[in-house]
């Protein structure tokens, strides 16, 4: 099920925005022209990834520095651990997130 997230022009490239979609805390990121949506809760101890730093497609959790690939949600040190990642699409200037993973 696709849900409206934001207008495309609300987020610049390299930017991130925490959102609440269907009761889920999400983090929407725009990088190299694409939009990526992941859960905003770190799978380690639930810290908000929105407060972390983004370098390329890798976000670093502000609490204990775990690194995640925003495209797949994978934790770089153990790929079995993932932050939930959601599909996105842009239609007529609006960004939608697919809440079914």
């Amino acid at each position: 099920m696709w849900f409206f997230a934001i207008n495309e022009n609300e987020l610049d490239d390299g930017g991130k925005k925490p959102l609440l979609v269907e009761g889920e805390k999400l983090l929407l990121i725009r990088q190299e022209g694409g939009f990526y949506a992941i859960s905003n809760k770190c799978p380690h101890m639930d810290c908000p990834l929105s407060k972390g730093s983004l370098e390329g497609f890798v976000i670093k959790c502000p609490c204990h520095d775990w690194l995640f690939d925003i495209r797949s949600g994978e934790f770089l040190n153990a790929r079995e651990i993932k932050v939930p990642a959601y599909g996105t699409k842009v239609t007529e200037g609006k960004v939608y997130v697919n809440m079914e993973r």
Partner: protein, 117 residues
Amino acid sequence: MDTEKRMQQFRTMFQRVIDPLGYKFSPDTELVDFLLEQEVMLEKEKGSPYCPCQGLTGEREHDMQLVCPCIPFHREHFDAMKRCWCGLYVHKDVDDPDSLVQISKKEFEASRDKGQA
């Protein structure tokens, strides 16, 4: 927050992390309780639930790899022992944690390097 409650939260959060890695909490529940309590104290004192069995250096990069569960950062060594340093976590197939043999980091690194040579 009281210690019991925080210990319970650690159990829930850490279970989520260790399960996909093939680990479980040790069947030695007394040990698990003791170590989790230590971690709650460490969190109160130092800000994070560091491994109670390792020394911190104050260098962030080093110390962050000792926040529990630190399995992802020391997995090869733990897999060789089927347990973490403290014995808080063991491989899922371990029923008798006392039967596991500890290997020091030095020993482990030496045997690994030999294996690769």
